[in-house]
């Protein structure tokens, strides 16, 4: 059952390779994605026990990430059918295959308990995504692809060195190198502190650059800006969460070691605040609305890192925010993709009055903006509120002060870009394009904003239990 998560998309990728017709091929995506979502739902209800060697186990942390990825991918898959109908001039074989291969690798990230295997899967997602960023095949997108590929490969290489250090620390401790999470956590107190410290630094830098934590985020605005909307959604809601899961695993080991966790938490808070500061500075007066979304993603990985770094009650908020951020980014990227198609331009100088020209997509973009900046009644408000209130209880006044300050600056900066885009009258001199809002391009983000609204007003009981279980694994109070 667990292996279906990996094999199903792989089989889909092979079928996508064989189907010759550009019009029929995208239909594979929703078929595979729906069965993937169904498998995920069955696995959440009835979780299989850990495998014999301890390599494969879907624990609560993995479940949260898997749920987010599966839901987001399904929504994006339905959207892809509508989107690719407008892009028939481009062959989409590589896009379909890359998306499915990436889904397979992301599934492996969530179910494995072996840090080496997790690394292999994460590197696979990096490589799979590269051709997708290059979908538009122009000078700008090749530049973005090159930066993404090089920076992420180097980052993930550093993470590999960190993993080797970690394995060597177990070798020094008891002559038997291992990267199994369970064994590592059980023997974490005996590990050599020097090696463990070096490992934690390299892993944080490596996975941090993959996740896009400042100051390692240089590739992010370019890649998000040039990739098609649905690829951007999967980068911001899928790959980011996979990298965050890798950081959570390192966090678990540091926590079990007892000493290393203090450094790790401080480093996370520091990098998180720097990320939010970078986002706050670059968000204002951003002329390209897709790049603006990239900075919003930098801001939100910052929030995730801060939530994790604060620990205790904030952990619940961080895990909830992982889900909320992923889904809200989906709404924003998909609707921005529609706006981009309709105006065939993504600069705020040209795109004006989207609500008039595209009532549905413009409205969704506006709603996504309201949600992502943490306004009630959407669910990101709940998760950010949980982090802030927990920080106040624990007395981290400086951190929480800066956190709120950056949130306000980001809100103002983003509003200055988004409001002129959606309000007012559309310019008269833009060329007409073939794009019109249709069910398949508007329905998926609409569904997703519904989910976020639901999570904000009435989070289902099973999700609350799941998040509490996850937080408990990271040392949060139940």
């Amino acid at each position: 059952m667990l292996f279906a998560l990996i094999l199903l998309p792989l089989a889909g990728a092979i079928v996508a390779w064989m189907v010759p017709d550009n019009r029929l091929r995208p239909l594979i995506l929703p078929v595979i994605a729906s069965s993937h979502l169904l498998t995920t739902a069955l696995l959440l209800i009835n979780t299989p026990p850990p495998s014999a060697g301890g390599w494969i186990w879907l624990d609560p942390l993995g479940k949260i990430v898997l749920l987010c990825i599966s839901l987001l991918f399904t929504v994006c898959a339905f959207y892809a059918v509508g989107y690719l109908a407008y892009r028939q001039e481009r062959p989409n074989r590589i896009l379909c295959m890359g998306l499915l291969a990436c889904l397979s690798a992301m599934g492996l990230v969530t179910i494995t308990q072996h840090l080496g295997l997790l690394w292999v899967a994460l590197e696979t997602t990096t490589v799979c995504m590269a051709p997708l960023i290059y979908f538009n095949q122009n000078a700008r997108s090749i530049e973005a692809t090159w930066k993404y590929l090089l920076i992420c490969s180097v980052g993930i290489g550093l993470a590999l060195l960190g993993l080797l250090f970690l394995a060597y620390s177990t070798y020094v401790a008891h002559r038997d190198a291992t990267l199994l999470l369970g064994t590592l956590m059980a023997s974490a107190r005996e590990l050599n502190p020097g090696w463990l410290h070096a490992a934690a630094i390299f892993l944080l830098v490596g996975y941090g650059s993959k996740m896009g934590l400042a100051p390692l985020h240089a590739w992010k605005p370019d890649a998000y800006g040039e990739a098609p909307g649905l690829v951007g959604a999967l980068l911001a809601g899928g790959l980011v969460n996979c990298a965050f899961l890798a950081i959570l695993r390192v966090y678990q080991i540091c926590l079990a070691s007892g000493i290393e966790i203090q450094f790790f938490q401080k480093a996370l808070i520091g990098m998180g605040l720097i990320s939010m500061a970078f986002a706050a500075v670059f968000m204002a007066r951003q002329a390209d609305f897709k790049r603006m979304l990239a900075y919003s993603s930098v801001e939100h990985v910052g929030i995730l890192a801060i939530g994790l770094g604060l620990g205790k009650g904030a952990l619940y908020g961080a895990l909830f925010h992982l889900l909320n951020n992923g889904l809200t980014k989906g709404v924003l990227f998909l609707s921005s993709g529609n706006i981009h198609r309709s105006y065939s331009n993504k600069t705020t100088g040209v795109v004006k009055g989207a609500l008039t020209r595209l009532p549905w997509s413009g409205g969704l973009f506006l709603a996504g903006f309201i949600a992502i900046t943490g306004s009630p009644p959407f669910s990101p408000f709940i998760s950010e509120y949980t982090i802030v209130s927990s920080a106040f209880i624990e007395g981290h006044y400086l951190v929480v002060g800066l956190f709120l300050l950056f949130l306000i600056i980001v809100f103002i900066g983003m509003a200055l870009t988004v409001l002129p885009m959606v309000m007012g009258a559309p310019p008269l001199d833009i060329e007409p394009t073939a794009y019109r809002d249709r069910l398949l391009t508007v329905g998926p983000p609409l569904f997703m904003i519904g989910v976020i609204l639901l999570l904000g007003i009435w989070p289902p009981a099973f999700l609350v239990t799941l998040l509490s279980d996850g937080a408990a694994m990271l040392g949060g109070q139940p």
């Binding site: 080496g116 690394w119 090159w146 020094v172 020097g194 090696w195």
Partner: protein, 213 residues
């Protein structure tokens, strides 16, 4: 045997410096290939024989010594360039920096306590030095291919350290890491090809449209 291993590690570090001083791309690619072959020989010298080990040796030599150099030389041939011109930082300064990095790697290695049986070996300084010099190549060179070579040198540095653990690592993870590296280089080769078609050059300093105004 460990003396021989140390000599090979010194050779790895010397190749790093040679690469910093060279502008001919084909020469650099061959140098990386030699480094890859040395990486393949090393585990046999420090661990007792096993089929697992033999498999790793063959895998590393094939991937790093044959396939990857072949893929990059292909990209060089298609892009019609032979030399790195005008790196962001000249050859002499980078060579000096490379020497400093190598010295620093030895200082850093002192801080990390190795297991007793590895104490006399140069694996840690060689690994860190190669990693840093890979970084240096990656950041100071202008051509996309030189940057890929820098990435490979960095990756070699990481592998040098990994060799201490070859016995303990599961085959699946090692094979996965090598395969990912191969596919990554393959994709980079394709991207380089597109860069050279799009810009009629693989000078990455031309990739500068995307930035904040």
């Amino acid at each position: 045997m460990t003396v021989f291993a140390d000599q090979l590690l010194v050779l790895v570090m010397l190749i790093n410096l040679v690469m910093l001083g060279s502008s001919r791309l084909i020469f650099s690619i061959r140098a990386v290939a030699v480094q890859g072959v040395i990486l393949g020989i090393l585990p046999g010298l420090i661990h007792p024989f096993s089929y697992h080990l033999a498999g790793i040796t063959i895998g590393i030599i094939l991937a790093k010594g044959v396939i990857i150099p072949y893929l990059i030389s292909n990209a060089v041939r298609k892009a019609h360039i032979r030399r790195e011109v005008e790196p962001f930082l000249g050859y002499v300064p980078t060579l000096l920096l490379g020497a400093v990095f190598t010295a620093l790697a030895f200082v850093f290695a002192e801080k990390l306590p190795l297991a007793p049986e590895h104490r006399d070996l140069l694996f840690v300084p060689a690994s860190i030095a190669t990693l840093l010099i890979g970084f240096l190549l990656l950041t100071t060179r202008r051509k996309a291919i030189s940057q890929v070579i820098g990435y490979l040198v960095m990756e070699n540095g990481i592998f040098v350290f990994g060799l201490l653990l070859t016995e303990a690592m599961p085959v699946m993870v090692e094979a996965g890491a090598l395969l990912d590296l191969l596919v990554g280089i393959f994709v980079m080769g394709i991207v380089i090809n597109h860069i050279s078609q799009e810009f009629s050059s693989i000078d990455t300093s031309r990739l500068r449209t995307l930035k904040e105004e």
